[in-house]
């Protein structure tokens, strides 16, 4: 059971949250301009990183806000929590 810090509500139990997969994957602004392969890549393929991974969570049983986290996928350690629209710590990945 993870302990997750909502950027608004603070530390809460994992049971209050929903998982949203990899973060910073932007929906193509003009979907018609991307190829089928690019669209499929956007839809179905994640980076599946080992180590620090930027991912989205939603505080579904609390304030219903989406936010981002950096989590080490090998240790489950959260390195950071930050709000939507904020820059991820550590720059480009």
């Amino acid at each position: 059971m993870l302990h997750i810090k909502c950027p608004w509500c603070g530390w809460r139990d994992e049971s209050e949250f929903g998982y949203g997969g990899e973060a910073h994957i932007e929906r193509p602004k003009d979907p018609d301009s991307v190829s089928d392969a690019e669209w499929a890549d956007y839809l179905f393929f994640g980076s599946n990183r080992r180590g620090d991974f930027r991912e989205r969570w939603v505080h579904s049983a609390g304030c219903r806000r989406w936010f981002n986290a950096v989590r080490d996928t090998t240790t489950y350690e959260f390195k950071a929590f930050y709000r939507m629209g904020e820059e991820p710590p550590g720059g480009e990945q």
Binding site: M1, L2, H3, D13, G18, G20, E26, R27, P28, P31, D32, V34, D36, W39, A40, L43, R56, V58, S60, R64, R65, W66, T75, Y76, E77, F78, M84, G85
Partner: protein, 1010 residues
């Protein structure tokens, strides 16, 4: 004669409180403070079970969680508990226990003959044997193995006990209330931190309960008592005895199992739960879990009467039990000398201390010498003899390398062998979340290395076995943990009690005592006595090519038992290293995983049982009315929805026929309150709906409503519903009952993450509105009697519009919508008025023959019209084109999922398409929902695989049409009208059906537009 093996005095039992219990039908006595194991030993009973594979006799071996043998079935009937460890089962009046895994009896076990065939059951026999012939598996091997290998029996009746859960946060959780844990609790508790201290034992004190060490010049247990008294006085300290920390997860989450009333009887005597699972979120975790003595591994080391030395001391000192008359102590370290002294001091003859070390020099060794206990330095026990109990040992001289024995065989008679191969720190909880370990040569075992999170190890679990060191480490861990949450500094504030001088000589590592014969031919040297895994099995696994300790464990099944190898696994790793010719530090151990000791299923279920609490049960404002009117209910999501309302004597079919006839010919009323409702408001509300629905919403005028479908980004239908425009910037959206939360989450996700620039607020109003849906030719007549403030005429209030009004004097929204194909209205009022307005509608409808109808009739009526139900006719793999919904797909804008509709797979021409089906041979036959459809008339006989052409999604009997109808997805279905398909059934029947339009009734929609 009772308790013949009880010492005259001593022990932490209450001799003024005798307890009667039974074991295998025999009535016996013990005392309060006994475990079942100590009481059995006090009565001279040590043979308690049979081993799993060979059915060799097994005696009480350990004195706690590590005991691999003492599995018993406690009680009978509904409350019976299988596979309890007698060593951890507190005695209570009337306790009834039976051996497990020994049929027909523990003393006469026919399966013990398998011991004669044991060469046929080597390591890996699970994987190698019983493979051929195939038909023998069901008929011969499995029943035979099950009967022979059966552990305890699960009760067949519902568990009569209550179980509970508790979530608790704390600053510092301390696991283990021995000297280190108590010291840590004092240090952290005195500073005001919120502390939880738990221990699996019934009393706090840990090793101090069972040894005779002194602190501050008094017996150690006196110090422990004082510490506990002080901790009890601290308001923020929670003390949990009889509580095992069984799992340590990430971020300070630790699961504890508190046995609340297990010690009081078979079932909980009052309203308290029998067991409670604590789900602790600790900022800091101090592990003071102690160490488990590992036995030495020698030939025939599994006979009853052979025990770890510390267990012998525990039975003497803590329980006042004489575990034998004449003992041999066999050791590679100093600690077992204390056992020899404990035996000697209690008048139990110590035939010899056999020490694999040629020389040893320490306080304890000196005392043993002074007591004139014979010491065989540089010798080893190489074999034992005995039947159902050990009766003697063979002792030989050990060579300098420790890999061979020689010289004269000394035969020593004894009925007790106390063995010690050193101590293994209990690093289970340290390891659970990924804490690493390292091999410590000084103790020849693994100790914690890097801990995960704010976890600290203190005392014996950290490899520090000296009492003084344990307490100092405990104080230090308590200080560090408290400082970590802002209570003081990391400097120790408390004072450690004085301990005696504890000089020790080093141990001599010995994983396997050499035997006279080479391994395959030597008598069995047991590593795991519950699973009958021997050093020969480990050697065989290595010979067959296994290199990793994880593979060797799985091939041999070593440590697979209910004890999870607490006694044997490190020895197993050492013997594997020996067989591999590698260093044990490199071989390592297998992974420690929760649960530390077995946990009752009930403790995981807690109170989340039964139809009322297993999951949430949501009820509408009119729920009681439905109950009072005979409704049967259907679960839709968490909601209870009326399914249908049978009248007395009516069958389901009759009730459905009546409900749908009345609705089609008069008027029916449906509780639609469960539909999801979302208030959408803001300057960009119309734009937002345009992006989330497939159709256009900007041009829809205020006062109107429209059906819409939502897709996931992959183009598949996610949900559908009707949304109404309340104002220019304001919509009232409805979703399916089961999809409400998912849809709101989906919308918020896009709003917050993709389109934060859109000015839209979403608010769930599902529970705010009671929704009363009326359908049928008289719906308008009924509404007219209830509602005021609206011109209900078709011209003024056409289909798919809504109006503000009053219903029975209550402010209401009235929608003109229909899911049945009939003239339909839906009255929405604030939920607290729902029953009141429903009553008014019911009253008004009497003269028109109003009938309540449930979800089943609703499904039939909509299926007759070919309306889909998202989640029933869709399954996340179907897109709107599959349903012929091309008209709902706007070409003028982007929307979620649109791009995916032009992917090649979405455009495939042979996709399954939505059609209707009617049956041919028996027009009233209902094809089961989910049934597969094929072109082959004799699918059961045809070569496999038979190509599939589709499947049924909905299927009903339509009394309106006089025949059954089904909705289905069929390959190229729309171009195959009137084709015949076949649906083979599990019972061998084949149902013939013909493809039709999915709209069976009133295809022009004339009835709803009146």
């Amino acid at each position: 004669m009772s308790q013949t093996k009880r010492l005259q005095s001593g022990g932490r039992i209450d001799r003024s409180k005798p307890l009667t219990f039974t074991f295998n039908g025999q009535s016996l006595q013990g005392y309060e403070g006994d475990t079942l194991a100590s009481a059995l030993l006090a009565n001279g009973i040590s043979l308690v079970s049979r081993s799993f594979k060979l059915h060799r006799p097994r005696g009480i071996m350990g004195a706690g969680a590590e005991c691999p043998n003492s599995l018993v079935q406690v009680g009978r009937g509904a409350g019976t508990i299988p596979n309890l460890r007698a060593t951890q089962t507190e005695l209570y009046q009337g306790l009834e226990a039976n051996s497990v895994n020994c049929w027909p009896s523990v003393k006469f076990d026919v399966n013990a003959v398998t011991g004669l065939f044991s060469p046929l059951l080597p390591a890996g026999f699970y994987y190698k044997t019983f493979k051929w012939p195939k038909s023998w598996w069901d008929k011969v091997y499995e029943p035979r193995i099950r009967k022979a290998a059966g552990f305890g029996k699960a009760p067949t009746e519902p568990d009569p006990d209550r179980y509970d859960k508790k979530n608790r946060h704390c600053d510092v959780l301390i696991v283990g209330a021995g000297p280190a844990g108590l010291a840590a609790a004092l240090e952290a508790g005195r500073r005001g931190a919120r502390v939880i201290l738990c221990d699996e034992q019934n009393e706090f004190g840990g090793s101090l309960l069972a040894n005779r060490q002194y602190l501050d010049g008094k017996p150690g247990i006196e110090w422990a008592k004082t510490a506990v008294a002080e901790l009890e006085s601290l308001e923020e300290v929670t003390l949990l005895a009889r509580t095992t920390a069984f799992g340590h997860y990430h971020h300070g989450f630790v699961s504890l199992l508190e046995r609340v009333t297990d010690h009081m009887g078979l079932t909980s005597p009052d309203g308290r739960p029998r067991q409670r699972q604590w789900r602790v979120r600790a900022n800091q975790v101090v592990l003071a879990t102690g160490a488990i003595e590992r036995p030495l591994v020698f030939c025939n080391n599994d006979r009853p009467g052979i025990m770890p030395a510390s267990a012998v001391s525990t039975y003497i000192n803590r329980y006042g039990v004489r575990p034998g008359q004449r003992a041999v102590v066999f050791t590679n370290n100093d600690s077992a000398y204390q056992t020899a002294l404990d035996l000697n001091d209690h008048g139990i003859d110590v035939a010899a201390i056999v020490d694999v070390r040629p020389e040893s020099d320490s306080v304890l060794v000196d005392r043993a010498r002074k007591e004139e206990i014979p010491i065989y330095g540089g010798y080893a026990v190489v074999d034992t003899r005995g039947g159902q109990h050990v009766s003697g040992v063979k002792v030989m001289r050990l060579n300098g390398r420790g890999d061979g024995v020689y010289g004269e065989i000394h035969h020593l008679d004894c009925d007790l062998v106390a063995s010690s191969g050193g101590w293994n720190p209990v690093i289970h909880l340290h390891s659970h979340p990924g804490g690493t370990m390292r091999y410590d040569e000084s103790i020849a075992s693994f100790v914690p290395d890097q801990a995960v999170g704010n976890t600290y190890n203190a005392g014996a679990c950290n490899g520090n076995f000296a009492l003084g060191g344990c307490i100092t480490e405990g104080l230090s861990a308590g200080a560090t943990a408290a400082a970590g949450v802002g209570f003081g500094s990391e400097d120790i504030e408390g004072e450690a009690p004085a301990t005696g001088k504890q000089q020790e000589s080093p141990l001599r590592p010995m994983w396997r005592v050499p035997s006279r014969k080479a391994i395959p031919r030597a008598p069995k040297q047991f590593i795991d006595v519950q699973n009958d895994q021997t050093s020969a099995d480990v050697y065989l696994a290595v010979r067959e090519g296994y290199r990793s300790i994880e593979h060797i464990k799985r091939y041999t099944a070593m440590g697979f038992g209910t004890d999870q190898g607490k006694l044997g696994n490190i020895n197993g790793a050492g013997i594997a290293a020996e067989a591999l010719g590698e260093d044990i530090a490199k071989v390592g151990t297998t992974t420690f995983r929760p649960a530390y000791t077995p946990v009752t299923m009930g403790a995981f279920a807690g109170r989340e049982l039964g139809p009322e609490r297993f999951h949430a049960v949501r009820k509408t404002p009119m729920h009681k009315w439905h109950v009072d009117h005979g409704a049967l209910f259907e679960n839709v999501g968490d909601w209870k929805r009326p399914w249908y309302y049978p009248k007395p004597g009516e069958s389901m079919r009759e009730a459905l026929d009546r409900e749908s006839y009345q609705t089609r010919h008069a008027v029916g009323v449906l509780d639609a309150s469960t539909l999801g409702k979302i208030d959408v408001r803001g300057p960009d509300a119309a734009e937002f709906l345009n992006r989330v629905y497939t159709s256009g919403w900007k041009t829809m005028e205020v006062g109107k409503a429209r059906y819409g479908i939502m897709l996931s980004e992959d183009g598949m239908i996610m949900d559908d519903g009707v949304s109404a425009r309340i104002a220019e910037d304001h919509y009232h959206m409805t979703t399916t009952t089961g999809g409400a939360a998912r849809v709101l989450g989906h919308l918020e996700e896009y709003l917050q993450t993709e389109w934060p620039e859109l000015q839209v607020y979403l608010t769930s109003t599902t529970d705010q509105w009671a929704a009363i849906s009326l359908a049928g030719p008289h719906a308008r007549d009924v509404v007219a009697k209830v509602v005021s403030g609206v011109d209900l005429s078709g011209g003024a209030f056409p289909f798919m519009t809504w109006r503000d009004c009053e219903a029975a004097g209550v402010p209401a929204r009235l929608f003109r919508i229909s899911f049945s194909g009939e003239l339909g209205f839906e009255i929405n009022v604030q939920a607290n008025y729902g029953q009141y307005v429903w009553d008014a509608v019911w009253e008004a409808g009497q003269e028109y023959g109003i009938t309540p109808y449930g979800t089943e009739t609703m499904h039939i009526l909509r299926a007759e019209k070919g309306f889909i139900i998202a989640g029933q006719d869709t399954d996340g793999s179907v897109n709107p084109m599959d349903f012929g919904m091309h008209g709902l797909l706007s070409k003028k804008k982007d929307y979620i999922g649109r791009r995916s509709l032009s992917r090649p797979d979405a455009m495939r021409e042979d996709r399954e398409q939505f059609v209707g089906l009617v049956t041919l041979e028996d027009p009233k036959e209902i094809i089961p929902e989910g049934a597969q459809l094929v072109e082959e008339p004799n699918a059961n006989e045809a070569p496999k695989p038979v190509p599939l052409h589709g499947y049924v999604t909905s299927s009903y009997y339509s009394s309106t049409l006089g025949h059954s109808i089904a909705l289905a997805m069929v390959k190229r279905g729309r171009e195959r009208m009137d084709d015949v398909l076949y649906s083979p059934q599990a019972d061998g029947r084949v149902i013939q059906c013909r493809i039709t339009s999915p709209v069976f009734y009133d295809p022009k929609g004339e009835r709803q537009n009146v």
